[in-house]
């Protein structure tokens, strides 16, 4: 561990948390409940990444601000190979531009009884409506197109749970395609990272992929950086000036 710069701190970050907007997530995953749990677990930064949508981010951000937690807006995008890619964004404009790009490549209507409710809420946990898109479906975009779009909207692209047996880039595509400009890889079991052949030297993060309240923060990454901002996270993933991710 390098701690050469005195002005750097460790931030506990769980960058992959679902809300009640994801059909597979528990309905208890509301802004207030999530923030309460994040606070309890001592998280400084949380990433809100619902499947193919970001409609609950405004509410999450407001709730997080009240408790002094930094919320980063994201989307867990399903590529047409059914690979999950996290796109994290620095502001709502980029986030919602990305959401529209995803929506225009996502077809089908949700069946609430089969797949679950997709609840859009405000920061007071009040229901604003239900998203009727098939959010668990796959988009028509290839992994390359997804990563390029994330970068076009100034975002950070992270391959989700690469050590899972499904919806992961390694399970679905065998290996990480050469030249794919991922900014980091998310791993569920950090201890086994050396056993995975990733082709080149990627930065790893670990996060909870929480669909249930109790799971929030059960895995997290420590970002060694100056402050809890999106730009600092970007620099941290590039290991700029001694910044680093500790998992």
């Amino acid at each position: 561990m390098k701690l050469e710069s005195g002005d750097m701190k460790e931030f506990k970050a769980d960058m992959h948390i679902h809300t009640c907007l994801s059909p597979c997530a528990d309905l208890e995953m509301s802004p207030r409940n999530i923030i309460k749990e994040a606070k309890k677990k001592g998280l400084d930064i949380i990433g809100i990444c619902d499947h193919n949508s970001a409609e609950n981010f405004p509410a999450m951000e407001k709730s997080a601000n009240i408790e002094g937690i930094k919320a980063i807006g994201g989307i867990e995008i399903t590529s047409r190979e059914e690979v999950h890619i996290l796109g994290l964004f620095g502001n709502e404009r980029d986030l919602f531009f990305m959401q529209e790009a995803v929506y225009s490549n996502l077809h089908g209507v949700n069946d609430e009884e089969r797949y679950g409710l997709q609840v859009v809420v405000n920061e007071n946990d009040e229901v604003l409506g239900f998203n009727n898109k098939l959010l668990i479906g796959a988009t028509e975009m290839s992994v390359e197109e997804v990563v390029d779009l994330i970068h076009k909207f100034n975002g950070i692209a992270i391959a989700s749970h690469i050590d899972r047996e499904g919806f992961s880039i390694i399970a679905n595509l065998g290996f990480i395609p050469e030249g794919l400009k991922l900014d980091a890889l998310e791993i569920i079991e950090p201890s086994k990272r050396d056993k995975i052949n990733t082709g080149k030297d990627f930065v790893f993060i670990t996060s909870s992929d929480a669909h249930l309240i109790n799971d929030i923060g059960k895995r997290y990454s420590c970002f060694l950086m100056k402050e809890s901002t999106f730009e600092e996270i970007r620099k941290c993933l590039c290991k700029e000036n001694g910044r680093e991710v500790i998992i």
Binding site: E92, R93, F96, Q99, E100, Y103
Partner: protein, 309 residues
């Protein structure tokens, strides 16, 4: 309905593009048969407090009989037991259930009729009847629903574009359109409109984009085999490119005139193509260019700024 206010379409105007006849028409229509009598006409007009009754044979509309027909029958000393088919208006002007309201408004204006029977485009069966009153009622209901919805959206998204001076990221949305698919006409515009709404653009901006894009989409549906709409969205402006592989416009100047149309008769009979809508696009956009080559296609570009320049 009054003519277009330059660059400031009202919410109602926008809705006339979005609402379809079937959403505002009256279903459960009381009908008569050709061999019903004028006595039946009197009974129904009185009991149902209506002013016109469609006449139907084998599910097909064969005429319409109105309060005027009944009065004329009395004035001429006609028989009250006489058959409806001798007094009804044949060759009835009808509208299709999937037509946008804006087309029907135009038909009311031109024809001077008080009501149109509504028929299904595919099987030509009578499915309803529409009056100006129904349109107004339908618009008011929709206005109320949309108002509530938009309030939520404004609350959630309006801050997205605050404090944005200039930005390099552009959101590009593409929509493919097949020519001749009248039933789907307007669907792509509706998708773009929903995207803009979610992104938090001002309702007035969205309205201008929606009307101009709708006209462009209709032109592709009516006149061309296929085309594409590409919307480039930036915080300060929305650019739309409509490109088609169609026959092209021989005389662009003429096409820019209000009411000018090269739509063939069969298209007009479908309720479309009263004008090419190009003057509308020009009206509602801040910049517009049109290039067209006969036998090659048309390339239409328009820009709408989100804030006053």
């Amino acid at each position: 309905m009054k003519t277009l206010d330059h660059k400031k379409p009202s919410k109602t105007q926008e809705l006339t593009y979005e609402l379809k006849v079937e959403q505002v028409m009256r279903k459960n229509v009381t009908t008569l048969k050709p061999d019903s009598t004028m006595k039946d006409v009197r009974r129904i007009l009185r009991n149902n407090k209506i002013s016109g009754i469609p006449v139907v044979a084998d599910d097909r509309l064969v005429g319409i009989v109105t309060i005027e027909d009944f009065i004329i029958c009395l004035l001429e000393g006609g028989e009250i037991d006489g058959k409806v088919e001798n007094r009804m208006t044949k060759n009835v002007v009808t509208v299709y259930s999937d037509e946008p309201i804006v087309q029907v408004v135009g038909k009311f204006e031109k024809s001077g009729y008080g009501r149109f029977p509504v028929v299904d485009r595919d099987n030509k069966k009578l499915v309803g009847i529409i009056t100006k009153g129904d349109i107004i009622e339908g618009l008011l209901k929709k206005l109320e629903i949309d108002y509530q919805k938009e309030e939520i959206h404004t609350y959630r998204a309006s801050h997205i574009f605050e404090d944005v001076i200039s930005d390099n990221s552009t959101l590009i949305l593409k929509y493919r359109i097949k020519g001749g698919e009248f039933k789907k006409a307007g669907e792509q515009t509706s998708k773009l409109r929903k995207s803009l709404l979610r992104l938090g653009f001002l309702p007035e901006t969205i309205r201008r984009v929606a009307i101009a894009t709708f006209e462009a989409e209709m032109n592709i549906v009516i006149f061309t085999p296929e085309g594409e709409l590409v919307a480039k969205i930036q915080p300060d402006k929305i650019m739309v490119n409509a490109i088609d592989s169609g026959p092209g416009i021989p005389d662009v100047k003429k096409a820019m005139r209000q009411g000018y149309s090269t739509a063939p008769d069969w298209v007009r009979e479908l309720g479309f193509g009263a004008g090419m809508g190009l003057p509308n696009i020009k009206n509602y956009s801040d910049e517009m260019t049109l290039e067209s080559k006969v036998n090659e296609g048309t390339n239409l570009n328009f820009v709408i700024y989100t804030k006053k320049k």
